[in-house]
């Protein structure tokens, strides 16, 4: 066993033990604890939990690689701006009001505010979005185990499933929240240490966010020499229309993602919900402002070390990844030298997902740090997976079982159904992680399109427009969902592979679906029965902080079921 593997085992083992201990210490006995941690999490902890929940294997493992390799520097900004800009929308438009409204899930809000039909549509959207997303996390876990511990990916996924099973089924949202606080700490330390080391080494400035300015001119020059577009040049891969629409889709999608929104129900009160959003974006920004610098530094290293190197004398880190086929070198012209370039004669292909994992090796950092990065990647994947699994199980146990099938169910019974749903969801997620359907990688980005097109309008209108009706919201959600899915099927390579309308990419289309959703909801609301006076009063009440009788009665479930 190599030194790197030993350190990976040490850090992964220690962090897993910590997660399970925390879950055991915070195990729950009631549904409020299981679904929303009793609603009593202080804002900084809730913010760290949101950050861990939110930053998935895609943020930790893939994002820097996508910025550096598959797009052209600037174009990766759609992820940076899109995934952080959504928090402004969440903080201003949704978080405080949803917290005041109370309850457990997005379908809970939709069902209570509009109608039972709308609730079921929301359950379907929630489950689809969450499963699509969780499959990616599970295969991310498999990838890390495969590379660092030399087990096969299937075993890796199963280890991940067992760990999540323990702390999610036992502790519910309460266990998950405190585990995520620990996972955030692990992942951010693991991300920042190599970034600071690399920045110091290349620029002698220990702050990567500032240091990476120093190398941009050199990087632009190297890229130009090899026939690539300049690293900082705009609209070389994507045109302005698609950059605009995709950024917007990721922003509004973030603000409609069920596992992020549910986190504002766990805050102590309305004020804590606002502060949670601030803490969350602060913790996220630590990683999101670092990622583009890691991308630029690694790209420079690759261009300098690998391009033009002898084929049978690769740098050590490149050889390790070449051994597991994540870097492929093919000496097309047979001159024994790697020709890296923008055209068909390119002889080097690097998988996006290895950039962050390889960054410490590229910079020649010692083995313990590489082990730490592996533990960080696992923390990122597992924290997001557990948040998503909780959303799936609470939507099924609370919104389908308790609200539709058996409203007489006792607390203990609901909790048991929640745990069974959680266990079943873990098994399905594990299966999807082991046998990922071919389209998973593409579909993860599409989860945002669906969240954006289905949820964002009904949430915002539900809060800001008292007269938004149940039929309007249902029709709008269905329109957004169906149109967006249809467009995606029509344009994704493996299905229709069409150019689409105005060349709008499938990943950029969500915001168009959202606009249609708004339009349909508003038009249909003009012609359908208005919400009851009590409901309109309730919607007005959630605009002001503090206690009121109506909100309290609603939270306790004392309002009549046909209050819509």
């Amino acid at each position: 066993m190599s030194e790197i593997q030993v350190w990976t085992l040490v850090f992964a083992g220690l962090s897993f033990a910590l997660y399970i201990y925390i879950a055991y210490a915070s195990r729950v006995k009631d549904t409020a604890g299981f679904y929303v941690a009793g609603g009593g999490i202080p804002a900084p902890a809730n913010g760290a939990a949101i950050a861990a929940d939110w930053m998935s294997a895609a943020s930790f493992i893939s994002m820097a690689g996508i910025i550096a390799l598959s797009t052209n520097g600037y174009d990766g900004s759609v992820y940076l701006m899109g995934w952080t800009g959504g928090y402004v929308l969440l903080a201003l438009l949704l978080a405080p009001y949803l917290r005041k409204f109370g309850k457990y899930t997005i379908p809970d809000f939709v069902g209570d505010r509009y109608s039972e039909t709308a609730r079921m549509v929301a359950v379907v959207c929630t489950v689809v979005i969450s499963f699509v997303y969780v499959a990616g996390q599970m295969s991310g876990t498999g990838l890390v185990f495969a590379r660092f511990l030399n087990v096969n990916a299937t075993t890796g996924v199963i280890i991940g499933m067992v760990i999540v099973f323990f702390y999610a089924v036992l502790g519910g949202m309460k266990g998950i929240t405190w585990t995520q606080v620990a996972q955030y700490s692990v992942l951010i330390v693991a991300y920042l240490i190599p970034a600071v080391a690399i920045s110091t080494e290349l620029t002698s400035i220990p702050v990567p966010q500032i240091g990476f300015g120093q190398i941009l001119a050199e990087l632009d020059g190297l890229q130009r020499d090899l026939g690539f577009a300049e690293y900082t040049a705009a609209f070389t891969n994507m045109n302005m229309l698609n950059v605009t629409l995709m950024t917007a889709t990721l922003m509004f999608g973030t603000a409609g993602l069920p596992h992020v929104i549910v986190r504002f129900y766990t805050a102590k009160n309305v004020r804590a919900a606002r502060f949670s959003a601030l803490w969350a974006l602060f913790f996220i920004a630590l990683l999101y402002t670092t990622a583009p610098s890691i991308a630029a530094f690694s790209k420079l290293n690759i261009l300098q070390d690998v391009s033009g190197a002898a084929v049978d004398n690769l740098p050590g880190w490149a050889q390790t990844w070449a051994d597991v086929d994540l870097i492929t070198v093919d000496d097309l012209n047979g001159d024994g030298v790697i020709d890296y370039g923008a055209d068909a004669a390119n002889e080097l292909v690097i998988n996006n997902d290895i950039l962050v994992l390889a960054a410490p090796e590229i910079a020649g950092l010692p083995a313990p740090i590489i082990g730490l990065v592996a533990a960080g990647a696992l923390a990122a994947a597992l924290s997001t997976a557990s948040g998503l699994l909780l959303v799936i199980s609470s939507s099924i146990a609370n919104d389908v079982y308790y609200k539709r099938i058996n409203p007489q169910a006792t607390e203990a019974r609901q909790l048991m159904v929640g745990r069974i749903a959680m266990a079943a969801a873990i098994v399905v997620a594990g299966y999807l992680g082991i046998n990922p359907p071919g389209f998973v990688a593409q579909v993860v980005a599409l989860a945002f399109g669906i969240a954006c097109a289905s949820f964002f309008p009904v949430l915002v209108l539900g809060i800001f427009w008292k007269k938004c009706t149940a039929m309007g919201a249902t029709a709008g959600m269905l329109t957004g969902l169906v149109v967006t899915l249809a467009y995606m099927l029509w344009t994704i390579d493996i299905y229709g592979n069409s150019e689409g309308i105005f060349g709008i990419a499938e990943t950029s289309f969500g915001v168009v679906g959202m606009a249609l959703n708004f339009l349909v909801t508003i038009v249909v609301s003009q012609f359908t029965p208005k919400p009851s006076p009590v409901m309109q009063e309730l919607v007005e009440e959630i605009r002001y902080p503090g206690r009121t009788k109506l909100i309290e009665a609603h939270a306790k479930g004392e309002l009549p079921p046909d209050v819509h």
Binding site: V36, G73, S77, T84, V88, R274, A285, T289, R543
Partner: protein, 93 residues
């Protein structure tokens, strides 16, 4: 709060939101996307300005916007006597 106070509170909340969201759009879509090319001709501390807004500046601005929102809403709540302090707002069932 009586009816007039409620209306005043809500109007001020909406105005704050409108201002912050305008800045949000101007920095991300404006500086980071639509005007990125002309801004890239300005280089500050080795960063082409448009590129910097797209990869760093917009994120830092978003953070500042939420900070201002949280701070101003706190003040607004105090002014109207609806601040929550450490007391719990809504109990879950």
């Amino acid at each position: 709060m009586d009816e007039n106070q409620r209306r005043a509170y809500w109007r001020r909340n909406l105005r704050l939101m409108a201002v912050l969201l305008t800045i949000w759009a101007a920095v991300s879509f404006g500086a980071g996307i639509w005007f990125v090319k002309p801004l890239n001709n300005i280089v500050i501390l080795d960063f082409p300005l448009g590129f910097w807004f797209a990869q760093q500046g917009s994120i830092l601005t978003f953070l500042a916007l939420i900070a201002v929102y949280v701070w101003r809403m706190d003040r607004l709540d105090k002014e109207f006597g609806v601040d929550e302090l450490e007391e719990e707002g809504v109990h879950h069932p």
